[in-house]
Symmetry: C2
Subunit: 382 residues, 2 copies
Amino acid sequence: MNNFSYWNPTRIHFGKGAIAELRNRVPESAHVFLIYGGGSIKSNGVYEQVVSALRPRAITEFGGIEPNPKYETCMKAVETGKFAGVDFLLAVGGGSVLDATKFISAAMRYSGQDPWEILAASAPVTSALPLGCVMTLPATGSEMNSFAVISREGTRDKRHFSSDWVRPLFSILDPETTFSLSSRQTANGIVDAWVHVCEQYLTYPADARLQDRQAEAILLTLLELGPKVLKRPTDYEIRAQLMWCATQALNELIACGVPQDWSTHMIGHELTALYGIDHGQSLAVALPGVLHFQREKKRKKLSQYAERIWGLSGRGKTAEEAIGLTEDFFKSLGVNTRLSDYGIPASVCEEIGKRFSSRGVHLGEHRDLGGSEVAEILKSRL
Amino acid sequence: MNNFSYWNPTRIHFGKGAIAELRNRVPESAHVFLIYGGGSIKSNGVYEQVVSALRPRAITEFGGIEPNPKYETCMKAVETGKFAGVDFLLAVGGGSVLDATKFISAAMRYSGQDPWEILAASAPVTSALPLGCVMTLPATGSEMNSFAVISREGTRDKRHFSSDWVRPLFSILDPETTFSLSSRQTANGIVDAWVHVCEQYLTYPADARLQDRQAEAILLTLLELGPKVLKRPTDYEIRAQLMWCATQALNELIACGVPQDWSTHMIGHELTALYGIDHGQSLAVALPGVLHFQREKKRKKLSQYAERIWGLSGRGKTAEEAIGLTEDFFKSLGVNTRLSDYGIPASVCEEIGKRFSSRGVHLGEHRDLGGSEVAEILKSRL
């Protein structure tokens, strides 16, 4: 097992009615910056619950955070928040709203030239406003981690950063808030959680049987409940279990002591930045390509995945079969897995390959995927 | 799934050489109260590593914390610590040393009459000195939770308390420090971790598939590696995986949203308080009795346990078989499972039964085990 450090101080309040816990978690004297997305929280009752629990605290609202939240929008929020004098940020929505809130909290305290440096140049975050969240879309795990991903419209970039400063002080997860998600949102979330696990699990063996099994625990549960939730979207027990799976898939626990990949995410981010497809869709396209391209180096873990998740045994083609079944699973949820399904032209392969080449980055647990390898992976996904 | 709150801010540093991290984790100006046990840390090199990493901080030492740490010893430590003016507590040792340190940290700040009230009367802990730990014995999970168990020699009581105030700020886990553990200590630790999982897993179904599988992940890993570690006690990879299993078995994660039992621990504590057997031994005696007595109410989870952990399937006697295999597993590790193995007389059954009756407590996830039921369980373990 590799050496590791683990620290995850986010407080979780999970279950029916948990939004009322805001009363105890947000400082009484806070001027709250309430940040949300397209307004669905105003039609599903979440907004009323939040505002009622926050009373009588001062609230300044900022709505309109888009999926794949934009730097440009975040910077408008920074301006609004500074002008209003907010001192506590509350994200109400999915991973995009929370990621935006994380960036806004760091940007409001950023002392450098341009907060974009945090994303593009890994400029260190040395302070941030305190933040909490009401998570309404199980997918990104952002509710219990230090990560955020932000897109820049001007340059069609999608970049991430990580800082302990932007860990939510608390996250409230009420599965009932997810009843109104569309099939597309739900399915994308399942794919996102699935791929988070794969990035930390499908690498090479590292004498970490417990972490492997903790990863498999999430995959098996997603596999069982994914198809069910699409048929019974208001089944509390199913929604609750999926919600907790998404959190556990990226709260850094299954990453303890093991190698990590993340090339599927890096490639997926480019697809979204350039062609605007959903994050979950981009992962469903990229994952089978990455796994197939790396199948020799990932052979041992792919065999374990084939056996324990898909019930395949024996030598030979089980790894390839498992990759195929993974793709079938995504499709069964209604998430397409080919570039052509989304009308993305073949030129994307070289286009994205060149982007990685020009940045000089190499992806994967062996840092062996440069621009030309990425282009090849994408060609297998046309 | 039941509603739950989860908060676990303890920072973990895991791996070879991790003790050096004390340098960064203990405040530079601290006057450290270094608390340890029987002195094994002075023969296995741990003491030197700790003292070297703490330099040049002021250190006051307190050695001699015994297994099943005594209230009387802790109160001597409180006196020593107050007299010296320590302001940071560092436990170096196993769960007993850490539990004692947790109690000492609370007792040093206790404003009531007698700190024993924290244990016997659930007097609230409203402050404690900050503490950290170097954990050298995988077993109790104390390194990542809010619990502590303390014994009182005078009254032969063994009681627990829990407070967020006594959560370790950090815990350092270097598997190499466990190489010198005896087979008995190692085996007791495996049984302890196993039973921690069972207390949170073998109850009744609560629509918590992920938590179930996270629990099973620990059991399967303990089952695979338990026998191996006794043959290869200095195998780093085995020691590391067992160490992380013990932490995960009682860091509150697998308890999220599910019912909990804890009757095996409560009965085991009485056996240790009255007859001085090891904690792990007391659990190995009590668990099969509890599971057998409660087999109808626990039927569904016992069947799942039989199938997923022991590979048993089919109807009928699989639950009973699984209980038998559990007992065989403990014995295979060298931990005996009968009261008579430890020379404990049959009178213990009524003796312990009466203790629970007089306290008026009822144990188990259904709170249905009073004194007479406990006596009956113990009779099945003669």
